[in-house]
């Protein structure tokens, strides 16, 4: 237990990220099922009140984006990046532990809002955030949202931002500076490349949301008018700041999944990734363009014809590098010796579903057509095809692929196939009809609809689909849990992968590599035209390997942050100061603690 609390081992931190994020994924999924049950019939199937419904969809979106998908990607960054680049750990192991604890505590803080009502003289289930995952002004102003709901949201996101930023610096340095000899930049595995690009987006986009949240905090706590029209402020500024962060954020969510798919497809087609360099560079272009499109979320706010046209143009441009990647993936499969493992199925499912999501994206890249679609279920369909059909299917592909490396145990392929097909059927049944209900005029985020709107059938289909996804997820949970009772028996390289993580035992020893390998090709474990496969590493380290001990300070420093947030939430200054004191003491002890790599 203690060794887990103080651990600085990237593999353990990866597992912690995985289980925590997966737990939040289940919570977010439960919220979605309640939403769908409510919408199963006109006029409300469950009798959920409008207030509760607002909290459910807000927490669903916030949880899935910040507590499930980002940290599930982070689980793979943590576990896989040092292995893929041939390193013993990340560049800053303690900072890595700090990121995890901050994420965990931030997530708990946000979710505590569900039960915290009585502390504020309100009912349970009444003070959770309720202004949508993008928290539009002036729904979030004190005037229209006097309770602590939005405070939970803004303080929680502020905490989570710290975790992401710290991890961002850490992984940039790790990938650039900790590579094994010979691991040149253009020999990095595609997952590592996409991670690197993602982290650059993180360290540039998160400061913007930090500022937006600070301004919101000043409005709510100190009575400024940054977003309040009565004082001259402009709610539209919030939209700009949010989406300047928000659009890079959607690429932060999808690029890691693209990286995973670019690992899985070559392995199971026994062919190198088609156009590796193009995949890498199109990732860079996507990130770059990702910064230039934010106002496509704001067409309906009245930007004027010039801005509308510019943002429509840049948005359509982004479809080009995205399309390039899709052709590269298809080219990788083309003519390969394909093995239809669960992991490959999910990767192929990713390509197919992501294309649908991309197409609906292009359809609202055009401002006039977006005005018909924005704030309707059509956008909900889009985001679920890219985030579920894209990110989540990609993450599942990664879970089936890397689970044996992470735990030494293989997941059941037959349960995996059940999981895959149920997921595919469920997601298309759930999300495809939303295109229709949206175009027929069903707004998003309403807790009831009338049967006269003519969307009842579509909604019923969506609800059935959602419960199928729920069932599929239960199958997956069972698949994960049952491996715990199996012996550790996975070989080093169960799939015949080409990258360094497959050169070492499953699960890897603490020090990862008995000797740091020297890399001579982009696919070190494969026979290529010019290179023989890397020779196996020695079974035992030839010289004793020094592994850093654990540290308490990352955890202790991290606890200061939610304490500060609780103080702010309840307007008790001494608690804020106490939290700050914990952070300061933690940082000092951390800085002067003997700790060696």
């Amino acid at each position: 237990m203690k060794t887990w609390l103080t651990t600085t081992d990237h593999k353990r931190i990866g597992l912690l990220y995985f289980w925590t994020a997966f737990g939040f994924f289940l919570i977010g999924g439960l919220e979605a099922l309640i939403i769908r049950a409510q919408l199963a019939r006109p006029d409300g199937g469950l009798g959920v009140s409008a207030e509760t419904f607002n909290q459910l969809f807000t927490m669903h979106g916030t949880t899935m984006v910040f507590l499930a998908l980002m940290p599930l990607s982070a689980a793979f960054f943590n576990f896989m990046i040092p292995l893929q680049i041939g390193a013993r750990d990340v560049a800053f192991p303690r900072l890595n532990a700090f990121s995890y604890w901050v994420f965990l505590l931030g997530g708990l803080f946000l979710n505590a809002s569900f039960i915290a009502g009585p502390l504020f003289g309100a009912d349970r289930l009444s003070v959770a955030p309720d202004a949508g995952w993008f928290g539009y002004e002036n729904l979030t102003s004190r005037q229209f949202s006097p309770g602590p709901n939005v405070d939970f949201w803004l303080l929680g996101l502020q905490i989570l931002g710290i975790a992401s930023l710290a991890a961002g610096f850490n992984f940039i340095v790790t990938i650039l500076n900790m590579r094994a000899p010979g691991m040149r930049m253009l020999r990095l595995p595609p997952f590592t490349w996409m991670t690197l690009i993602t982290q650059f987006l993180v360290i540039t986009a998160f400061p913007v949301i930090t500022v937006a949240l600070v301004l919101l905090m000043f409005d709510r706590f100190f009575g400024t008018h940054f977003f309040v029209p009565q004082g001259g402020g402009d709610p539209i500024l919030w939209q700009h700041l949010f989406w300047m962060f928000g659009h890079p954020e959607v690429y932060i969510l999808i690029l890691p999944a693209m990286g995973i798919v670019s690992e899985v497809l070559p392995t199971f087609s026994k062919k190198p990734l088609f156009g590796y360099t193009v995949v890498v560079y199109s990732g860079v272009v996507i990130a770059f363009l990702g910064w230039s499109v934010w106002s496509h979320h704001m067409f309906s706010s009245g930007l004027g014809p010039i801005a509308d046209s510019v943002f429509a143009g840049t948005t359509m441009l982004i479809a080009i590098p995205t399309g390039v990647k899709i052709f590269n993936w298809i080219g990788t499969l083309w003519g390969g010796q394909i093995r239809f493992t669960t992991s490959l199925l999910f990767a192929v499912g990713f390509i197919a579903m992501f294309i649908i999501g991309g197409l609906s994206g292009v359809s609202h890249a055009s401002a006039p057509s977006d005005l018909q679609q924005t704030d309707t279920y059509y956008v909900v369909a889009h985001i679920h095809y890219v985030l579920f059909g894209g990110t989540i299917l990609g993450l599942f592909a990664g879970m089936y692929y890397w689970w044996p490396k992470m735990t030494g145990r293989l997941l059941s392929e037959s349960l995996g196939k059940v999981h895959f097909w149920l997921t595919m059927i469920g997601m298309n049944l759930a999300f495809f009809p939303m295109h229709f209900s949206g175009l027929l005029g069903m707004p998003r985020r309403i807790y009831t609809y009338s049967s006269e709107l003519g969307v009842t059938g579509f909604n019923q289909a969506s609800t059935i689909g959602a419960f199928l996804i729920g069932l599929a997820t239960l199958v997956f949970v069972w698949n994960l849990l049952r491996t715990r009772w199996q012996p550790i028996s996975a070989p080093h390289n169960p799939w015949g992968g080409a990258t360094l993580e497959w050169a070492i035992p499953s699960p890897p020893p603490v020090y990862n590599f008995t000797v740091i390998p020297t890399v001579e090709s982009r696919m070190p474990l494969w026979q290529t035209e010019r290179h023989a496969p890397m020779r196996p590493l020695p079974e035992r380290p030839p010289a004793p390997i020094h592994v850093p001990g654990g540290s308490w300070w990352p955890l202790i420093t991290a606890t200061g942050l939610p304490v500060m947030a609780i103080g702010a939430l309840s307007h008790v200054i001494p608690v804020v100061l106490a939290g700050a004191a914990v952070v300061i003491v933690g940082i000092y002890r951390w800085a002067y603690e003997p700790f060696e790599m």
Partner: protein
């Protein structure tokens, strides 16, 4: 904590071989500074977007004190000079000079903070509070964030100074001083921008 080595540095990588031949901590710090550009960029955007949109006074031209702030600017520029001299001294192993210039840098930082404190309280007396108008809100949040950065820098510099007094800072820690310097100079260049955008261009 498995052994009692006296060296306390996070990135052992800093001392050992790295793939780019660069110190890991320094690289992380440059990335952090890059990230800070977006933080201050967003704050400055907010200030500029709301420029001239205050509904009531006091307005910038009625209240900003250029001679006083020019002095603060001068003070901060001099602190940057002191900082490079401190670093050069530590790198040479001249800890006497090193200590002196670290202290001077921190003191000049304190002078800046005292000036900001005086400026803020003067403005409040003149009727410009945080919530008076958009100018007040954007001004205090932007310059206050900068001031918070200066505060962190002063504490950091004083920490190094105390370490130096206790004989625990030497040429072997030059990288720590260099990184402190990067932070300090960055805070200075942010002020260069704020001085122009907020004070001179009214």
């Amino acid at each position: 904590m498995t052994h009692g080595s006296a060296h306390a540095h996070e990135a052992g990588a800093g001392a050992h071989r790295t793939s780019m031949g660069l110190d890991s901590r320094k690289m992380a710090f440059w990335a952090f500074i890059g990230s800070e550009c977006l933080l201050f960029g967003s704050l400055i955007s907010t200030y500029l977007v709301y420029k001239g949109r205050s509904l009531t006074g006091p307005f910038p031209h009625e209240i900003l004190n250029i001679p006083f702030t020019s002095f603060s600017t001068f003070d901060l520029l001099m602190s940057s000079l002191a900082m490079v001299l401190a670093l050069a001294a530590v790198q040479r192993g001249d800890m006497k000079q090193g200590k002196l210039w670290l202290l001077v840098t921190a003191l000049l930082g304190l002078v800046f903070l005292a000036g900001q404190f005086w400026e803020f309280s003067h403005f409040v007396r003149e009727g410009l509070g945080l919530t008076t108008n958009l100018f007040g809100s954007t001004f205090y949040v932007l310059t206050g964030t900068h001031g918070a950065h200066v505060t962190v820098g002063v504490i950091w510099l004083l920490t190094l100074w105390v370490q130096a007094l206790r004989g625990k800072l030497g040429p072997a820690n030059a990288m720590t001083v260099e990184i402190t310097g990067l932070y300090w100079h960055f805070v200075d260049v942010v002020w260069i921008v704020i001085f122009t955008v907020v004070y001179l261009i009214q």
